[in-house]
């Protein structure tokens, strides 16, 4: 068959191709370790504990409000922060739940006891006697106010007007200190008798202090009882071992996949190997940028994703082989193969995205991480194993190096006349 296209090696393009591959691998090699180190690890890999609390009002007749929940969560976080452990993550969930995740602790049971205790708000006189308790305050009744000069102060509302009138009368011109548990937050002086239960606490306060005190008083007015509903605690050594063995399994599995691709598909297989490595790197980068927490199932998803990502390449290359066998020239086989396989690849990916979206919306927190990783894997896979690898393959074919079908895994006798 006479070919009209010259088969001379296109040197400039070859040089460009090699440069792209070298740069790609170089960037990956240089940045992989720093990126990997920055990825957030979940508790089941780093060690630590996670508890899901259900919150109920301590006093009968009260109801859990979103503000109370948020305030309680914030208070818990402050308690842990004071202990000096790193990065506690305590967030409200749903109507009446709080999820606490605390990594890298030595004294887990102490901390868990500490978290379970409801806060106690008390207003004490100079001898330390508790004159007012949290239950005396109207829930949500503390507010931030500003006087005429723009200075912030605290507005409070007491349930029992008579009681408050009595206290303010008795302690006129004396300090009434505000305590949360055993810590004194402020000690304003009573300057007037309050008959109607509504008072203002003024002083040389900054806005932040006022905000803090208002939140604390509201927290104390609606103390919540927390009951553990779910807990997971992982020792650091066990977590570390899980991480290492699973990563090793992933690396070994991936290497076998790469070797197989190169052996079976020859030249395109080499390109697939490059794009797979790029895929892995890109996914890790995505994790770091998205701030995803990597748990053990997450690593499994990551590793399985590599096996599945190679599918896009396999579909394309099988198609190209088909076109070669039907007698087309290399370049047109490439084009036809890529075009025909694209719809199939997208269909397949969309169905996996549906499954991942379900996991994302319906799952609980650790399960959700798996869904995010799955979707991220598919997006990265489309970028690297479809677009990038096709670009590389097409460019290489147009360098006119290695043109025989056997480099694409097609034996000469399989090719039919066009």
């Amino acid at each position: 068959m006479v070919s009209k296209v010259t088969n001379k090696v296109n040197r400039p393009r070859l040089v460009l191709w090699i440069a792209i591959v070298v740069i790609t691998l170089g960037v990956i090699g240089a940045t992989s370790l720093p990126i990997a180190q920055k990825v957030k690890l979940g508790l089941d890999l780093k060690g630590g504990f996670e508890v899901l609390y259900v919150a109920e009002p301590l006093e009968p007749g009260q109801q859990v409000t979103p503000e109370a929940l948020l305030e309680t969560a914030r208070n818990l976080q402050q308690r842990i922060d004071k202990q000096g452990t790193s990065e506690p993550e305590i967030t409200p969930e749903g109507d009446n739940r709080i999820r606490a995740k605390i990594a890298g602790v030595q004294n887990e049971s102490e901390l868990r006891e500490l978290l379970k205790k409801p806060s106690e708000l008390s207003f004490r006189n100079s001898e330390g006697k508790k004159e007012l308790l949290g239950s005396d305050f109207v829930p949500g009744g503390a507010t931030i106010e500003f006087d005429q000069t723009g200075r912030p102060y605290i507005g409070i509302t007491i349930k029992n007007k008579e009681k408050f009138k009595e206290v303010t009368t008795r302690l006129l011109n004396q300090p009434l200190a505000i305590y949360l548990d055993e810590e004194m937050l402020s000690a304003p002086i009573i300057q007037a008798v309050i008959p109607d239960g509504k008072a203002s606490i003024e002083g040389d306060y900054q806005l932040d202090e006022v905000k803090n005190l208002v939140n604390t008083i509201n927290l104390g007015a609606l103390p919540l009882k927390l009951t553990e509903k779910y807990s997971q605690s992982v020792g650091a050594t066990l977590g570390q071992k899980s991480l290492e063995t699973t990563l090793w399994a992933g690396i070994i599995g991936s290497v076998i996949v790469l070797v197989f691709m190169i052996w079976y598909y020859r030249l395109p297989g080499v390109i697939a190997a490059i794009s797979l490595i790029t895929y892995t790197w890109l996914l890790m980068l995505a994790f770091q940028l998205m701030g995803v927490t990597l748990t053990l199932p997450g690593i499994a998803a990551f590793v399985l994703g590599i096996g599945m990502a190679v599918d896009a390449n396999i579909i394309t290359y099988e198609r190209i082989k088909d076109e070669l066998r039907s007698g087309k020239t290399l370049l047109s086989a490439l084009r036809a193969g890529s075009k025909n396989s694209f719809a199939t690849i997208m269909d397949a990916n969309i169905t996996t995205i549906i499954a991942a979206a379900v996991i994302l919306f319906i799952g609980s927190s650790s399960v959700r991480g798996f869904g995010v990783i799955l979707i991220a894997s598919i997006v990265c896979s489309i970028l690297t194993n479809v677009f990038y690898s096709r670009w590389l393959l097409s460019m290489f074919v147009r360098t006119n190096v290695l043109l025989q079908p056997k480099y694409f895994g097609v034996k000469g006798e399989e090719i039919r006349a066009l």
Binding site: Y230, T237, S242, G253, G307, A348, F370
Partner: protein, 301 residues
């Protein structure tokens, strides 16, 4: 020329495959009805303790330690290397109780002992189970809708049956061998569903493409076309399942024990998925489509 041994006549041999799958499904149903699933703490409340000992030991030694800590009646399980113990408590343990047990193990095996504890309260366990079932149901519906839009309803139906078949095989095997079912298992099932339909779509895609240029005058023509479509995509089907399988096997054999069951579920699901896409889904579609081809046959050319 049917010289290639891979070119099994899937259409005309379909009854063999239907019977095979039917049998497995039947056994699975019986097992589930009789024994149900062996739920872990995620779905049936309680506390699960995984303890890394750092030293090899025997079951009787572990039982002694537990007895001395006050928990004599339990059945601890030993991990693959005999250096890891799993104990399942049906009641939820408090932090102090867990600590006491951990101390007992530290006293016997040394300071390198490390543990993972999972505690789930009954109300939450029920909730997680419900959510899991809903998740699987919603995923299936989403997929039926998508496939119906991209292809026709017969394809969607065939695909869904194949998909249920795969999920069911995994569930039945876990029931037969009393393997523990936890949240990761549900994740595995959802992933298998995604992969299985994935696989099936590739074949359906080829069938649809071949049908565009073919003249189907008889059920035989249709059977030949479907067979051809399967053979054409066989390379891809086998290679893809191989690559994911390699990774899943690596995870199963070499990965952390905490995800071993998850890897196993994935393994079974992947193999079942490939089998159902090749041998079951297309044959089902053929059976559904045959009547409409035969009807046309009666019309004079």
């Amino acid at each position: 020329m049917r010289s290639n041994r891979w070119q099994v006549d899937f259409m005309r041999q379909r009854n063999k495959f239907f019977i095979g799958s039917g049998l497995i499904t039947f056994v699975g149903v019986v097992m589930l009805a009789l024994f149900g699933l062996h739920f872990g703490v995620d779905f049936r409340a309680g506390t699960n303790l995984d303890i890394e000992l750092g030293k090899k030991t025997t079951i009787s030694e572990v039982r002694t330690v537990l007895e001395q800590a006050g928990y004599g009646k339990l059945e601890p399980r030993l991990g693959n290397n005999s250096d890891r113990v799993t104990v399942r408590f049906t009641e939820t343990l408090t932090v102090q109780q867990v600590q006491k047990i951990e101390q007992a193990f530290v006293a016997k095996y040394g300071k390198q002992v490390s543990k993972e504890e999972n505690t789930v309260d009954p109300q939450l366990a029920l909730e997680q189970l419900q959510k899991a079932i809903i998740a699987v149901a919603v995923a299936c519906v989403g997929i039926i809708v998508y496939v119906s839009i991209r292809f026709e309803w017969r394809f969607a139906l065939a695909g869904i049956v194949a998909l249920f078949h795969d999920a069911f095989i995994v569930i039945s095997l876990f029931s037969i061998f009393r393997l523990e079912v936890n949240l990761p298992f549900i994740i595995a099932v959802l992933t298998i569903i995604g992969y299985s339909i994935n696989d099936t779509i590739v074949i359906f895609d080829r069938i649809r493409e071949n049908m565009r240029f073919a003249k189907i005058k008889s059920p035989d023509d249709l059977a030949d076309l479907i067979n051809k479509s399967i053979w054409q995509t066989l390379g891809r089907s086998i290679n893809t399942v191989l690559t994911v399988l390699v990774v899943a096997v690596a995870l199963f054999l070499l990965g952390s024990e905490s995800i071993r069951l998850f890897s196993l579920a994935m393994l079974i699901g992947l193999v079942a998925g490939a089998y159902s896409s090749i041998a079951i889904a297309s044959s089902l579609w053929y059976v559904m489509k045959k009547p409409s081809i035969q009807a046309n046959k009666d019309v004079p050319a």
